[in-house]
Symmetry: C2
Subunit: 303 residues, 2 copies
């Protein structure tokens, strides 16, 4: 039904380092992206876990340019470019495409609630027409519990029909496997990423292309290993181990907890910083997190 | 408990004109603001009804500068400056303050859901500290059905306690009178605007300072008249007439319907345009709206 997705595998919605004045830290981000690449993960920068929407368009463009300028292969980048403002979404998507990014992960405009399929079709179509570049590859971003603006099957169908070479995939962060399954069943060839590694094995067994998952920030190698060996006999065991690690992080606010863990294992306290409205993980919670990770013998290696 | 609010009366969340390429049209906006001022309304530009979040920070700053440059008294302006990104909120609030705006109407960061009072306190405090100007006057913006990030009484209490000369009021668009009443009862001297003229008379009778209401775009004079004469014997009759007019518009998508009505009565079709994710009011709905307005003998005069 559609052109094949151009990106596959495990992508990390890379957490964004902020200095103590809460400015984005391009050098630390570059280093983190290099480490994630060494663990075979692609780079879904500016996602929900990246605090992407907590940064201005100018800040996001500066970081993209710093990563590509620092030697990151842009084909491995899938920046988040969907904003409330049409002009911001166009500017970010155009710059990402000009830089050669493999794709963009695009939220629908998320301020107004209750937009129907026609309204969201119009939103995406306007961005596509204004970017005006065949190299633009859009992955839709379905995360209704945060955006409160769901992407329906009928919207996907309309977009894929009219823009088959541009709208090439989706990240389904609904946490509802039946929804992911419906996307896989209805749109063969469409690049369906699970929004959590919890669904990675199911997704691969049903024709999906991988996952884009928060915890690929702290467990990238093992998640990629399941992606690469999902047809092996130990796949279910691998999935169970991934779920155990994820389960620990889910007991805490996810983004501050991942940053606190990176700060600990990297020996670099700056990594703890989050922008408002998030809050740094308090010390007592950090200690509890580290104790639980120790209990399951989990470490972040090489970060 | 707090310093008196600096702004009072009826403020219009001014609808933003977009040309046929969907660019903001500063000249038409200036003319509209002048007309609203001639009807004694203040100017809450860049609110929900202004499609404020559908414009980039640069577009909003350019419009503010055009209005002030065009002779609008900045003391009458209350631009919306609350964005998802800390840096955007700071930039907009700082520019508004530098221009001499009477206040700013500030949404909490609205991408992440579930932020608690401490997190939202941090969000506002960071903006206040970074703007660093005693002239900044913040009106909090409570519109939980759209932002999905409510502003609680305990958050107001904390902000007013620590920033009594800066956090001076609120717009309550919850549509829940008991919530507005609780704000009035708990924070005497705090500038409480009702978010709809439906509650204008109740708000004035209970110590409120006015309203900031969508339909002040199309019925400014009559709404201001009730504000100015709320102690008169005919106040309840005035309120009933306002409710009748509003009731008609509530039968349609509010923003496109107000723009369609302005386009009709101004004889200027460009006014119909809305940015995605909104959709222009279709012709059949426009005809129905105009017929209903005719039935209640309502016209927009002088627009």
């Amino acid at each position: 039904m559609t052109a094949p997705a151009t990106m596959t595998g495990v992508l990390t919605p890379v957490v964004t380092p902020f200095d103590d004045d809460l400015k984005p830290d391009a050098a630390r981000l570059l280093k983190q992206c290099q480490w994630l690449q060494s663990n075979n993960c692609g780079l879904a920068i500016f996602g929900t876990n990246s605090e992407g929407n907590s940064m201005s368009t100018a800040e996001r463009i500066a970081l993209m340019e710093a990563l590509v300028g620092g030697g990151i292969d842009p084909a491995q980048l899938m920046p988040g470019t969907g904003c409330c403002a049409l002009t911001d979404s166009v500017e970010l998507s155009k710059r990402a495409t000009d830089l050669g990014c493999g794709g963009v992960l695009m939220l629908p405009p998320f301020y107004y609630k209750g937009a129907d399929d026609d309204a969201l079709y119009r939103s995406y179509a306007e961005v596509i027409q204004r970017v005006g570049d065949d190299k633009l590859k859009i992955y839709l971003y379905h995360i209704p519990q945060v955006s409160n603006v769901p992407i329906t099957l009928t919207l996907i169908e309309k977009l894929v029909k009219d823009f088959p070479d541009t709208v090439v995939g989706i990240k389904d962060s609904s946490g509802d496997w039946s929804n992911t399954k419906a996307m896989l069943d209805n749109f063969p060839g469409f690049g369906v990423f699970a929004g959590s590694e919890t669904f990675l094995l199911q997704n691969m067994r049903n024709g999906g292309v991988g996952c884009i998952s928060a915890t690929a920030n702290i467990n990238p190698g093992a998640i990629h290993n399941l992606y690469a060996t999902w047809q092996n006999d130990d796949a279910d065991d691998q999935q169970a181990r991934l779920d155990t690690v994820r389960g620990v992080f889910e007991g805490f606010p996810m983004i501050p907890a991942m940053k606190a863990a990176i700060a600990h294992f990297a020996g670099d306290g700056v990594w703890k910083n989050v922008r408002p409205p998030l809050m740094n993980l308090p010390d007592d919670a950090t200690n509890k997190l580290l104790a639980e990770l120790d209990r399951i013998s989990f470490k972040i290696e090489g970060v």
